[in-house]
Symmetry: C2
Subunit: 480 residues, 2 copies
């Protein structure tokens, strides 16, 4: 087991240095690599396979809810970006500018899209004429660029992969419903497929998307008690429509502006998965998005019949649609076990000569290392059931972490005490709605507003900062 | 049928002006739209759905042949692009340069990838150490940018979508096999899934990819007799490996350079589909990549039971995995027929009260408008069979066009006469292998070398140009 030890020693323990543990995992589990392009990352095959599963599941959810995929240019002319004033103010400071094509200076510089509202708006102005053209429910899978100063793999990088939905509707009501519907699709996806509980809510005014009337978000709590904004959904009203002149003729034959939304999730979700479920042995992957759900490890594979049987079991699980592989490499069983753990493969299946004799195999869950002896005629049922159980268990574990680190506070002192005594987490506290108090709370306690949750609890009638009339309960936290 | 006429009138007939017919179709079939970003196109939902089908099928073929997907940064630092001299000479004149991040001037400018050899090489130098790390069989789906002067939708645009495979092998033999294998995968895909015959061959020295030892290509003949390079596969030898220092320790414990390949197809294939199969009524889509394979058009849909029955038939075909829709819009049947034709939907299924009475429906093939009366209990069998027949028929039609417009020539005069009398097409002619003759042939006849086909025919022992010893038979043609 010497290799085993060596393998594991290379990761910093999670409780010793969470940030180092995180970057160790992204490297050691072969998710990413760095290149000479500062702030950009290489997504390696194992990392990209996880992203492909995320894409596949989300894409199906989008299509089932009537959305269509398109592809817009990656460049935005400066004059186009400038059309909506708040939008350009928010994004211009962090865009990459293309100034030359070959050796020629461009007449107008182009930015590499940081987000594509302006391109979609220009297109919508061209193709929307009548109420019969509405709604337009478009989505795009692409990469976007934001010139960040400090970067971290998946969490904040200069280029990242994402999807951006952009929709146009006849009425404000419809657009608001769409904004909420997409937030729910994100939340369901996080819970059901990433086994990651999230809080649904609205962002405060200071934290809105540039150009939005309202921004909604899902917020997850990572193992270290910091919050991760995992997805956003924006309601634009008719602001962009007025800036880009997107009008339609209504049934009553009147010219009207459309109402719009946009919504997105990105490779950030990969960071969320790592920091929600990972442990000192590596990744723990939600079964729905694990590239390999069951890894079969033949024990004493040189003995007659072992590899054969491993292949047969593999085939049986694959026929059921379970992503299964056999590790028949020359490495020791111990090394293979460690690698399965590092890569977060939900189930490990061990099969050796003694198992074959007894007509059984051994299944080991990644999350709690529980071993189950499975009669071979129950293979399929047990694999399906264990994958489901594991998904539920890691969801419950993340939910427990969320509950344990959610503090109801009614004074700033209480916030500071909670964070000091129980560690970082979500603080629930009442707020008057004034930006001054929002800023003061951050200054005095270190936690910023994460969202105004849809599920409100009345903790007090007073703002935790100024003591004035409380308008709403807010989730506060330190954030990635 | 007034609408019907109006709809069709809007396309320029193919034989009147092929170029105009082409751009009419890409617009009228809702494949693309133009934006204010010069030389870039918007791929609309219907166009993108075709591309998604191409991606899905190719991706499966790549994965089945052991390839893994990755994602590299979209930027390449100038110094990295400069590492392989021939490569940078080929690409630098047509790249887009990023010079600013936000308001700051970058220390080193970055180009937007025109292709990613340099990024893959840098990565391979990092991750390849031992013979056990080989081969590396990577692929990437992304968009690339080349600053073209004149552009045409799908055929030549400043930004386009593609896949680029990049592989590293222990030996030259293995790398050459990979180059050939991927060309065959492309050729099979074009024949089987796009119903588009292609010629497999090698490019002449003057037409090689910048930095390649050998470039292989598949060439298709469009309806107008012009050639379309539909995919390329490059063998690099160890040239990039030496420039980027990609070495591995062999089984014999020696340091060796790797041998590499790259290969790609792009949204150009969309142009190939249009120009191979389309007609004066619009697109004709190969069934394998048609977003809708069967469109059900209810006749007299207001009559009781018609929409119900249309829905039932739709469900039955969908259950079989056939992409089927019902057009229950308010438009007239004539308008719906025209739209089905414009969009190239392979099969149209008509069902009305009289059909229901007789327990039948009518299926109409897009390619030849053949009507088949189908008893409802034979629905599934007939739909599957008609889709297959249609695929074969449009392949045969394209093959006939290819054969009819392939001319064996043994003198330059004969080339000119063939092209004048029979129209543009492929010219087969012997060549001595000298670039001077290649250039002279182009100057005197207008056709350039397309490829040196794998399937050689000896037409003569003499070069068609200089009369010297012929080295090989070459396909010549005018090209997109």
């Amino acid at each position: 087991m010497a290799e085993n030890k060596k393998f594991v020693e290379e990761i910093t323990p999670r409780d010793v240095d969470f940030a180092k543990w995180y970057t160790d995992i992204v490297k050691k589990a072969d998710l990413i690599d760095y290149s000479s392009v500062k702030g950009c990352m290489i997504i390696r095959p194992y990392g990209y396979a996880i992203w492909e599963n995320i894409q596949r599941i989300l894409d199906k959810r989008f299509k089932n809810s009537g959305h269509e995929n398109v592809y817009m240019p990656m460049f935005i002319p400066e004059s186009l970006l400038n059309k909506e004033k708040k939008h350009v103010a928010g994004f211009a400071p962090e865009v990459a500018w293309v100034t030359h094509g070959g050796s020629e200076l461009l007449q107008e510089r182009l930015c590499v899209r940081p987000t594509s509202e302006t391109l979609f708006c220009e297109h919508y102005a061209q193709i929307i004429h009548s109420h019969r053209d509405l709604p337009k429910l478009y989505n795009q899978w692409c990469s976007v660029v934001r010139w960040e100063k400090t970067t971290r793999p998946f969490l904040r990088s200069r280029e990242f992969l994402w999807q951006e939905g952009h929709t146009a509707h006849a009425t404000a009501e419809e657009a608001i419903l769409e904004t909420e519907r997409m937030l729910s699709i994100y939340a369901d996806f996080c819970c059901e497929d990433l086994n990651m509980p999230v809080i649904k809510g609205r962002k405060t005014e200071s934290d809105k998307f540039a150009g939005a009337v309202a921004t909604y978000a899902i917020e997850a709590l990572m193992h270290d008690g910091k919050a991760l904004q995992a997805g956003t959904s924006h309601y634009f009203g008719d602001g962009f429509a007025r800036a880009f002149d997107i009008t339609y003729t209504s049934k009553e034959n009147k010219m009207e502006y459309v109402f719009q939304t946009s919504w997105g999730v990105s490779t950030r979700l990969m960071g969320g998965i790592i920091m929600s479920h990972g442990d000192d042995s590596g990744l723990v992957l939600p079964p729905a998005i694990a590239p390999v759900q069951v890894m079969i490890i033949p024990v004493a594979q040189h003995k007659e019949g072992v590899l054969d049987m491993a292949g047969q079991l593999c085939k049986r699980l694959q026929d059921l649609g379970i992503r299964t592989k056999v590790d028949d490499s020359d490495n020791s069983a111990g090394w293979k076990f460690s690698e399965c753990e590092m890569k977060g493969i939900p189930l490990r299946l061990e099969i050796g000569p003694k198992d074959i004799e007894k007509n059984q195999c051994v299944m080991v869950r990644r999350d709690n290392r529980e071993k189950v002896i499975v009669p071979l005629d129950k293979l399929e049922n047990e694999a399906v059931s264990l994958l489901k159980t594991l998904g539920n268990a890691i969801y419950q574990k993340a939910l427990d972490n969320l509950s344990r680190h959610t503090y109801n506070c009614v004074s700033l002192d209480e916030i500071n005490t909670s964070l000091t005594e129980k560690g970082d987490g979500f603080v629930r506290a009442m707020w008057c709605g004034n930006e001054e108090c929002e800023t003061a709370i951050k200054e005095k306690t270190g936690v910023g507003s994460r969202c105004i949750p849809f599920e409100q609890i009345n903790l007090s009638d007073k703002c935790i900062c100024c003591g004035g009339k409380a308008e709403t309960m807010v989730y506060w936290g330190k954030a990635y």
